[in-house]
């Protein structure tokens, strides 16, 4: 996958698509919107249906970003795919727990751990 995205990086490995945010402090609404659109684009173009969103290094995350992650999750599930989040630091994990979204998403410690589960 060689698409050039503004806000995210995407690579495919062993049939799994791994996505990362370029800006680890995703902040203003414009870039949040772009993150959402670009992740959906990655999902739409991916050959496989397995996805990892690597949140390592992400220091801040508002409910607007949660909304985008949920949207991507829905899109993947609709394709009978599988998606998981990894590298989520403690402070961000708390946000998932408070909102109960830790029940919706699948989490793994690292990309490697997620890969060994998914491949």
């Amino acid at each position: 996958m060689v698409e050039n995205y503004k806000t995210i990086e995407a690579q495919e490995k062993d049939g799994v698509t791994i996505m990362r945010f370029k800006d680890t402090k995703v902040l203003d609404e414009l870039s949040i919107r772009d993150v959402g659109l670009e992740m959906l684009d990655v999902v739409a173009r991916a050959l496989g249906a397995k996805f990892i969103i690597d949140l390592a290094g992400v220091e801040f995350l508002s409910s607007a970003v949660l909304g985008k992650l949920i949207k991507v999750h829905q899109r993947v599930v609709a394709r009978q795919g599988r998606i998981c989040l990894c590298g989520v630091r403690q402070s961000i994990m708390e946000v998932f727990q408070i909102t109960n979204l830790d029940k919706l998403f699948e989490f793994h410690e690292s990309v490697e751990a997620a890969m060994s589960e998914m491949v």
Binding site: L27, D28, E29, L30, F60, S62, S63, A64, L66, G67, K68, I70, K71, H73, Q74, S91, E94, V95, I98, T99, N100, L101, K103, L104
Partner: protein, 459 residues
């Protein structure tokens, strides 16, 4: 407020038979001083007016009636005259008036010594109720030191335009002086930028003796940084201190400190003792006291310049901040920068800052999106109130308001896949108190200080 006296008028002239060697070196000294001035004048066109003033000074001195009759005396007289000029220049460069800083008291004492050793200070109005506080000491003495001082003083004024970071200012002054002053000329300087709205002082200490912050005890505002005007990379370290009501900040040059003996722990202890013992003296009296301490025997030498610039926080800092932004999500960062910056300075840790940032972002986003419906003509009004044990933030929009009790709990299984609706939940989770006004268009959130009661994450 400002008191500049020039003791010692002229050196004794009776020593007419100075050794030839000493004479030659004096002559060299004078001629190199002249070259220096000529060179500096060329290099610093902007300094022309300063130099003109200096020339006039020199002309006046030249036409003085007490023209000596032999060469020795002539040189001696020239040297004296140059010193005189140097002192005049130095006095003239100190501020004639100081800006009024609301809530601050100020006292200054600057005594130009017989050697005219290059002390100077300045208080620079930067706008936005911020002020540059500068105290500096140029290496060497006499006319050359005074000229370097003039260049430096102007450089500080020039580079502090639209600049609130003392490090940024000092970096520029350093670069300018490295380019324009001869090697072996440099200055020690302390530059603070006081944000008088928030009573926050950001500072860089470029090898000046650290200023003293007198609270119950004395703290020294030290930091890394080499002399100004000597090194390409002086490594200035910018630090921040939050000032409190009653704090006194005393900036002293070497000349003033030397009365207390050679640098070291014993001197520091002596100074601290004088300051704490006289905690209740007025600021001006305290400055006077420091200058009248009996000099340490065998160390202190008369003749150095001595400067003390002293400030006192005479009023509690303004605790309420109000900010209105357009209904544009990009504006949120201004609010965050202000509030998180103040909280960080106050001592809130990473978790508290994360919590406040998240709640603030949710509240302002709701105000823009649901309250003002992205209408750019409507504003979001943020009020921030900082007390010792808590921070209170109110976010109000110009919309119709809503009833927060009608917002469903987004944690329910049926709502889990909804994209929105989590802002209020997060605000409640991360702040200690959250309440709405009756209309429902203004939310007030309270975050307890980390050292106060614990409840929410980061509390």
């Amino acid at each position: 407020m400002t008191d500049c006296s020039s003791p010692n008028s002229k050196r004794s002239r009776e020593k007419a038979n100075i050794a030839k060697a000493a004479l030659d070196s004096l002559r060299d000294e004078i001629s190199s001083m002249k070259q220096e001035i000529a060179r500096l004048r060329q290099e610093n066109a902007g300094l022309k007016s300063e130099m003109d003033a200096h020339e006039t000074e020199a002309r006046l001195a030249r036409s003085a009636p007490d023209a000596p009759c032999d060469e020795h005396a002539l040189l001696r007289a020239r040297y004296d005259r140059d010193l005189q000029i140097a002192r005049q220049l130095q006095l003239r460069l100190n501020p004639v008036w100081l800006p009024q800083m609301p809530g601050m008291e100020i006292a200054v004492k600057c005594v130009s010594g017989a050697k005219a050793s290059g002390d100077f200070y300045d208080v620079i109005e930067l706008g936005d109720n911020s002020y540059g506080l500068l105290i500096a000491d140029v290496s060497g003495s006499g006319l050359r030191a005074a000229v370097v001082m003039a260049v430096a003083k102007l450089a500080f004024r020039t580079f502090s335009a639209n600049q609130f970071s003392p490090k940024a200012i000092l970096d520029k002054v350093n670069a300018a002086l490295c380019d324009s002053t001869p090697e072996s000329y440099y200055l020690e300087a302390f530059l603070g930028v006081l944000d008088a709205d928030n009573m926050v002082l950001r500072y860089v200490n470029a090898s000046q003796p650290p200023p003293l912050l007198l609270r119950d005890k004395v703290t020294r505002l030290d930091g890394r940084g080499l002399f100004v005007g000597m090194f390409d990379d002086p490594g200035y370290e910018e630090k921040t201190v939050a000032l409190e009501f009653g704090d006194r900040l005393l900036m002293l040059t070497d000349g003033a400190l030397d009365r207390f003996g050679p640098p070291g722990a014993a001197r520091d202890a002596r100074i601290d003792e004088v300051l704490t013992a006289n905690r209740n003296a007025s600021l001006e009296d305290m400055v006077e006291l420091l200058l009248q301490v009996p000099p340490a025997p065998g160390y202190f030498e008369e003749g150095d310049d001595l400067t003390i610039l002293a400030l006192e926080v005479a009023q509690s800092p303004v605790a309420v901040h109000e900010l209105s932004i357009e209904s544009d999500p990009a504006e949120i960062r201004h609010v965050e920068r202000l509030i998180l910056g103040l909280l960080e300075t106050k001592g809130y840790g990473e978790r508290s800052l994360f919590a406040t940032r998240l709640a603030l972002e949710e509240a302002v986003t709701n105000a823009i999106r649901h309250g003002n419906k992205h209408d750019r003509t409507r504003k979001v009004h943020v009020t921030f109130f900082l007390e010792d044990d808590r921070a209170t933030i109110t976010v109000a929009d110009e919309g119709e308001g809503f009833n927060p009790s009608e917002v469903p709990d987004p944690r329910g299984v049926e709502y889990l896949e909804r994209e929105g609706g989590r802002g209020l939940l997060l605000m409640r989770a991360y702040m200690d108190e959250v309440s709405y006004n009756d209309k429902g268009n203004a939310v007030t959130m309270v975050k307890y200080a980390p050292w106060a009661r614990k409840k929410s994450p980061g509390g």
